[in-house]
């Protein structure tokens, strides 16, 4: 969780400093969801993500050095600089990619779950989407298909209250997206997405259900997108006070610190040490990414057609 926060803060800073090409969407404020959920997953379980995917990547076990390099567009990145922030993938840990199309990753997870069922491998697939993505037709088609075939997939809605710039109160027909799960005969749960322990427990239960072969499950995590849709978003659609209130009163990282300190699971000193260690880890990732080479011209047609492509 700390790694995601510090990574994202650094990415935001680098982008504003003009160092990064493209654009970036930050996961700040939603860290508890990926962290709590992925802490239950096995390495070979599958995950598909969104344009706001850095947190999912880190939580699934991807390393931050090749992630940072990818965001810089360097050859040392996970995708050799060909994907960028919105397309980071690490197949070695079952992370089947962030996706630049909202709702685009849903059915890739359904397919991975289908593969798992056909192979009888016991792997599950998890797909993340927001309350905005929940309105894509792909979600409807994917949920129905997963339900009729009883596929081992968890549909995870990160209800962060904004679809790009449009508030969910305007763009989503129901206050709780998971009430739609009933329409597919699928169990669901609504959980505080800013409480990593609650996320962990709810996900554990969902995974047990899905692994037992009963079919898909939907989890809806209530959270709040602290940052704009993208870094540089002027955020004309909400007040600074609204953001500040959420950040002050319900920041998942502050919630985490409060719990572990109160319950004496960690001391302030140990917590500070974690922050210090991750800060230096992120700094190394940045300094390496800065000096790493860009892909050579000869890379353009590599990793494209496997055989006999079009030139």
């Amino acid at each position: 969780m700390v790694r995601i926060r510090l990574f994202e803060e650094k990415v935001g800073e680098l982008f504003l400093g003009g160092e990064l090409p493209g654009f970036v969407h930050l996961y700040i404020g939603e860290e508890a969801i990926a962290t709590g959920l992925c802490s239950n997953l096995k390495k070979d379980d599958y995950l598909t993500s969104t344009h706001r995917g850095h947190g999912h990547c880190i939580a699934k076990g991807a390393e931050i050095k090749p992630m940072m390099a990818e965001i810089f567009g360097k050859i040392t990145g996970y995708c050799k600089g060909k994907g960028g922030s919105m397309h980071i993938a690490d197949f070695s840990v079952g992370m089947l990619g962030a996706n630049g199309v909202v709702g685009g990753g849903i059915n890739l997870a359904v397919g991975a779950a289908l593969a798992s069922k056909l192979k009888k491998s016991g792997q599950v697939a998890v797909t993340f989407f927001g309350d905005g993505g929940a309105n894509r037709g792909t979600v409807h088609e994917g949920m129905n298909m997963a339900a009729i075939w009883k596929l081992p997939v968890i549909f995870v809605c990160e209800f962060n209250q904004y679809a790009s710039t449009t508030p969910s109160s305007y763009g989503t027909s129901v206050p709780n997206v998971s009430s739609r799960a009933q329409g597919y005969g699928m169990p669901s749960a609504i959980v505080d997405g800013n409480d990593v322990f609650a996320v962990h427990e709810a996900s554990k239960k969902a995974l047990e259900y899905v692994r037992s072969g009963e079919g898909p499950y939907m989890l809806e995590f209530k959270t709040y997108r602290i940052k704009g849709h993208f870094v540089g978003d002027p955020e004309m659609y909400r007040s600074k006070q609204e953001v500040l209130d959420h950040f002050e009163s319900d920041d998942p990282l502050k919630n985490f610190a409060k719990t572990v300190l109160t319950k004496k699971w960690l001391s302030q000193k140990e917590l500070d040490a974690i922050f210090a260690e991750v800060t230096s880890e992120v700094a190394t990732a940045v300094s390496d990414a800065r000096t790493d080479p860009y892909p050579a011209d000869s890379e353009l047609f590599n990793d494209f057609y496997v055989e006999g492509g079009v030139r």
Partner: protein, 324 residues
């Protein structure tokens, strides 16, 4: 050699490949219970079980999206689109996911899948069930596009498509399904990306594919009766395009006609014409002629539908005009 139909040839390819590789499975609407709306999947569920021959809901985005996901997770899916016209429903899955993920993820994965898409004009099926949309995919880096014209090629190309580690769109003309022809038994592979010299000639090159290949060959017969020797090239694949076979023929005949059932504007013929004009215009003795449908949706009424169909006479007429 034994004669079987185009439909049976594709079935044979499916069956042989499913036997050969247990990662191959097929999904689509009406394929298990019904056997496919053209009978092109008949008997597969009995042979391989309904786990590997999956009837899907009417959910094109989930069909293609799930095929991509299954391919990423190590399977080799074949997905049926019912009608090529319906690819529009799941275009994001085709061009933003299927075509791009390998490159976009830096080669971490392959996408070994086939999309089968029955296309073309048949029995007044009207505007949304008659189209030939292959040219869209020629403009799309990351996919291969296969357009067989006869049963033997259908078998050999479908087997190649299923074995390919790249995603392949397999367009099969609906009129071709019952058409019979000689097909080798057992292992018969036709490589993707290699055109077929279907008829030798010296006066004019006629390039076509799919159903229109038959109209082209009929036209060549008519032209022969008038003393014009047409060379006919069956593209078999439009992406990658076998430029060399076209160029070699045009260097010999110095005249080129390109024929397809799809709309002429922005079609496969436009690309081939441009390539020839760019790279070998000095070889030409006459203007290139493209024959394709007029720029209009396909009408229902037989009286109007016949106006958008290409006949062998249309082709022979164009060839004669540039052979003067």
């Amino acid at each position: 050699m034994r004669q079987i139909s185009f439909c049976e040839a594709t079935l044979e390819a499916m069956s042989e490949e499913m036997e050969r590789d247990e990662r191959v499975f097929v999904m689509g609407e009406d394929i298990a219970r019904q056997g496919g709306i053209f009978g092109q999947f008949k008997g597969l569920p009995q042979k391989f079980g309904v786990e590997r021959v999956l009837d899907t809901p009417i959910s094109e985005t989930a069909i293609v999206g799930a095929a991509v996901g299954a391919a990423l997770a190590g399977m080799r899916p074949v997905a049926d689109m019912h009608f090529a016209d319906f690819i529009g429903v799941c275009m994001d899955e085709v061009f933003n996911q299927m075509a791009k993920v390998r490159f976009m993820f830096g080669g971490q994965c392959t996408v070994p899948m086939v999309l089968r898409a029955p296309d073309g004009i048949i029995r007044s099926a009207a505007a949304q069930h008659s189209q030939s949309v292959e040219a869209w995919f020629m403009h799309m880096p990351g996919v291969k596009v296969v357009v067989p014209s006869n049963p033997a090629d259908a078998k050999g190309l479908l087997k190649s498509a299923i074995r390919s580690d790249d995603p392949v769109l397999f367009f099969e003309h609906k009129v071709l399904f019952p058409m019979k022809g000689p097909v080798p038994e057992g292992e018969h592979i036709v490589p993707i990306g290699k055109a077929n010299l279907a008829r030798k000639g010296k006066d004019v090159t006629i390039v076509s594919y799919s159903l229109m290949m038959h109209r082209a060959l009929e036209a060549a017969e008519k032209l022969a009766a008038e003393g014009i020797q047409a060379e006919c090239i069956d593209l078999r694949t439009i992406s990658p395009l076998d430029k060399e076979t076209i160029f070699e023929s045009v260097r010999k005949t110095k005249r080129l006609v390109i024929v397809h059932e799809a709309v002429k504007q922005g079609g496969v013929g436009a690309e081939i014409s441009a390539l020839v004009a760019e790279e070998m215009i000095d070889w030409l003795d006459a203007p290139i002629r493209r024959i394709g449908a007029p720029f209009v949706p396909i009408p229902f009424s037989p009286a109007l539908e016949k106006l958008v169909k290409i006949s062998s006479d249309d082709i022979a007429k164009a060839a004669k005009e540039i052979c003067r």
